[in-house]
């Protein structure tokens, strides 16, 4: 019996070793990936979109990050403490984090690869919130004490950020702000090397230097972005081996999903988004390496509240919502991959209201409202969207539905950067837009997308303005009781649904298809774009 037990133990140990052996990460290789468009910015202070973020996440690092399940975990901070009334946050920084020592083909950086201290964070926050930097996302941290005075140019530094010593960073807030720490995971709030930012000055956007696992090599506009391994990266794996495993990351800019798919099939790409025509085939062929999960995001058509025909015309905006059949669109055109939307908050987010009464498909009602809106014979409008076959498909499908009730929708597609700029400037009456979560809080959807202070590039592209809504969302930001916050947000969302500054279309599902030999790749709940390649390796 004892012998037998010994035998069993031997086998178990042996099999464990085999398993362990098989899972020992391999170093080396170039990760081959694709972006669907040229990123508008690599400067993290300016980046507001997922394509830019996808690259920035590899080069730069934040104090805290969202793990693949969307939970907040430390990154460059080792721990943090929040005081009793949530107006002070103290971060204890990780030691031994160094800026990139070399970049762009081995050229030494201006900072020389020195260690990051709390003073760098203080400088960085001053830089991001500097009115001259003009960061469209600085206002995410507007509750840092002294933010407004600094923005107005009355003082020359941000009072609420200070270094207690080299490894202790303190934030003081002017008022309670519930999602503050989650906001710091956003890709703008990364630590920057002052020397390099000042050296490159207005060309900084094209020569990013950070602390991340990969250093910037080159960016051929509309063609390719190439990053290589940061040899001095602070991260270690569970066995104490240095990270990252990959030698380099290559992101080719491939606008056409069918090209991505063909490139993936011949293994010129390790990861791809799967467009509808290949969806079923991908699911079948790559059953074990095709991932899908709900993403906190909302796809919508925005209606500019300050331009005709939508200005002061609620019946028209409601008619736009009643005219489309979201369920059928999802089922027939989108392969059932998304979730039809009734409001703005995605399912899975705090404050999501499953009983929210949204707009059902009701063409008769839509026609009636159209009459009430002053367009008994219909009208003609132009939908602007960024060039992508996926957007074109949705636009074309909804164009036909609008035609049914007498609304003639012309389509106009523009390159992503231009689309984003013109929309942010408020020049476009009707536009496609989608918002995915920057930090896991309804504040990121309701306050950012619809509060009147955030008109334009800050997020309120529809230029919606309603004092009651403003009051509700502003109050919810300061509130710390979850139940009250939830009530406030649900009330605010009900107002939005009724006033309909957007055509609510669907909530996102993120997906990612990888080659079967890719290891340690987990599709993050924030979306494929937020993946970090620190621990990914190739078993080939």
């Amino acid at each position: 019996m004892r012998k037998f037990t010994f035998f069993v133990v031997c086998i178990m140990v042996l099999s464990l070793t085999v398993v362990c052996f098989a899972e020992t990460p391999k170093y080396g290789g170039v990760w081959k990936d694709a972006l669907q468009q040229n990123p508008p910015y690599l400067d993290p202070a300016m980046a507001t979109d997922t394509t830019s973020a996808e690259i920035d996440y590899q080069i730069f690092e934040t104090l805290v990050e969202n793990d693949t399940e969307g939970d907040l975990v430390p990154l460059l901070a080792e721990s943090w403490e929040v005081n009793g009334d949530a107006t002070e946050v103290v971060f204890h920084l990780r030691k031994g984090v160094k800026f990139h020592a070399a970049t762009e083909g081995g050229v030494p950086t201006a900072n020389g690869g020195r260690e990051v201290t709390a003073h760098d964070w203080v400088w960085t926050f001053n830089y991001i919130c500097d009115p001259a930097t003009n960061s469209p996302r600085a206002y995410f941290v507007e509750f840092i004490k002294g933010y407004q005075e600094y923005m107005d140019g009355k003082v020359d530094s941000l009072a609420g950020v200070s270094a207690l010593d080299d490894y202790t960073l303190k934030f003081e807030l002017s008022q309670k702000f519930a999602p503050f720490v989650s906001v710091l995971a956003y890709n703008t709030f990364v630590v920057l090397p002052r020397e390099d930012v000042e050296k490159w000055d207005e060309n900084w956007n094209f020569h990013p230097v950070g602390t991340g696992p990969f250093t910037f090599e080159y960016w051929n506009q509309d063609d390719k972005i190439y990053l290589s391994k940061n040899e001095n990266y602070w991260g270690k794996d569970d066995n104490g081996n240095p990270l990252p495993y990959m030698d380099a990351l290559e992101f080719r800019i491939i606008e056409d999903y069918s090209v991505m798919w063909e490139e993936f099939k011949v293994e010129n790409l390790y990861q791809t988004y799967v467009d509808d025509p290949y969806y079923l085939e991908a699911k079948e062929t790559y059953a074990d390496s095709f991932f899908e999960r709900p993403q906190l995001g909302t796809f919508y058509f925005g209606m500019n509240m300050e331009l005709p025909p939508f200005k002061d015309n609620k019946p028209l905006r409601q008619a736009m919502n009643y005219a489309i059949n979201r369920e059928l669109l999802n089922e027939l055109v989108l392969n059932n991959r998304q979730t039809p939307a009734s409001g703005i908050l995605p399912p899975g987010m705090f404050g999501y209201n499953p009983d929210l009464k949204g707009y059902n498909y009701d063409p008769a009602k839509a026609r009636e409202l159209l009459k009430e809106a002053g367009y008994p014979n219909g009208l003609e409008i132009t939908l602007q969207y960024n060039t992508s076959t996926f957007n074109a498909r949705i636009a074309e499908a909804l164009q036909a539905q609008y035609a049914q009730i007498g609304i003639k929708v012309n389509l106009e597609n523009l390159e992503w950067g231009t689309h984003l700029d013109t929309t942010a400037n408020g020049e476009v009456p009707f536009f496609r837009m989608a918002w995915v979560c920057d930090y896991n809080d309804p504040d990121n959807f309701l306050y950012v997308l619809l509060h009147s202070e955030n008109k334009g590039a800050k997020g309120n592209y529809t230029r919606y303005h309603n004092p009651i809504f403003d009051m509700l969302t502003a109050r919810a930001r300061r509130e710390s009781d979850p139940n009250i916050r939830k009530e406030l947000y649900q009330e605010a969302e009900a107002i939005i649904v009724d006033e309909a500054p957007m055509v609510f279309i669907y909530h996102h599902t993120t997906d990612s298809l990888i080659q079967p030999y890719v290891q340690n790749y987990v599709l993050p709940s924030f979306g494929q774009y937020s993946n970090k390649f620190t621990k990914v390796w190739l078993d080939i």
Partner: protein, 302 residues
């Protein structure tokens, strides 16, 4: 003595005056390939004109909203001989309507480029000197641009629309006509009939467009016909790249652009049928153009 009546010399009746165009028609009729090309062109023109009479469906009607999944990407059947696309639109109908767009753009941009090209070429060839130098220089400069890129550059700055597309094509395509006309005029302006016209007091304008132009017309006709095919391809390429005609207008380029994504998943009909339509149209114009060239060339008279 018998007096023979003086024999009237029978003068062979002079052949009835035939014009260049009548001659050419006779020669064209003998050219089977050219006739086939002409036949294709006539069919296409017929389809374009009577598109709404001969089709059953509306080219923009999306049947999926009414009939559900069975109308989506349906393979060719009696009901839909060319199948349907993602939105349940009948592809045969859209291919037929596509002839309208293609022909309209080809015709309009050819006319635009002919007007610009003929006028500038005529001035260059007739006046010579510095007028010729400037115009020839302009032609060379524009010729040196990569054609498709130049058009994309123009179109990219303007809101995409069908009208702009063919104006853009027309503005870039006129050089071929300018060159042709200039060459013709250079040799024709020294001819006696020009001197005669001038002696009779005709002004420059009348000489250029009343006397010289009709004599230089045949190469223009040939070139325009041959160019049609090229422009149809160009329109398709532009639309394929996302410029040019916008959905839901049924244009061949659009259909191929979206349809090709579904080729590898087995829905070949979406892209193949408009592809065949383009090939046949271009083939038709090219065969007809070749035939016209041979027919209109007096040196090839048998």
């Amino acid at each position: 003595m018998n007096v023979a009546e003086p024999k009237t010399t029978v003068i062979k009746e002079t052949p009835k005056g035939t014009s260049l165009y009548r001659d050419s028609w006779v020669r064209l009729k003998r050219n089977k390939l050219a006739l086939f090309g002409g036949f294709l062109v006539i069919i296409i023109i017929f389809l374009a004109i009577f598109a709404d009479v001969i089709t059953v469906y509306d080219p923009t009607e999306q049947l999926i909203w009414k009939e559900g999944a069975k109308a989506k990407l349906a393979s060719p059947s009696w009901e839909h001989p060319f199948g349907t696309d993602l939105f349940g639109r009948d592809i045969l109908t859209r291919v037929i309507y596509g002839t309208r767009i293609s022909l309209a753009i080809a015709l309009a941009s050819t006319i635009i480029s002919m007007i610009i090209g003929v006028f500038l070429g005529a001035c260059a060839g007739y006046f010579g000197g510095w007028v010729d130098s400037i115009i020839s220089w302009l032609v060379n400069v524009i010729y040196s641009f990569p054609f498709l890129l130049f058009i994309i550059a123009i179109v990219a700055y303007l809101p995409p629309s069908m009208w702009l597309t063919f104006i853009a094509i027309g503005c870039v395509n006129w050089m071929r006509y300018a060159r042709l006309i200039r060459g013709q005029f250079l040799s024709l302006r020294e001819k006696e009939f020009v001197e005669a016209a001038r002696a009779l007091g005709a002004n420059d304008f009348a000489i250029m467009f009343k006397h010289l132009l009709p004599n230089a017309l045949s190469p223009i006709i040939v070139n325009a016909t041959l160019g049609m095919g090229g422009i149809i391809m160009l329109e398709a390429s532009l639309t394929f790249l996302g410029f040019g005609t916008q959905p839901p207008t049924p244009s061949w380029g659009n259909m191929i652009s979206e349809g090709q994504r579904w080729l590898s998943s087995g829905q070949w009909w979406w892209a193949i049928f408009p592809g065949i339509a383009i090939s046949l149209t271009v083939l038709g114009f090219n065969l007809l153009g070749d035939g016209l060239r041979d027919a209109l060339d007096p040196r090839l008279k048998d």
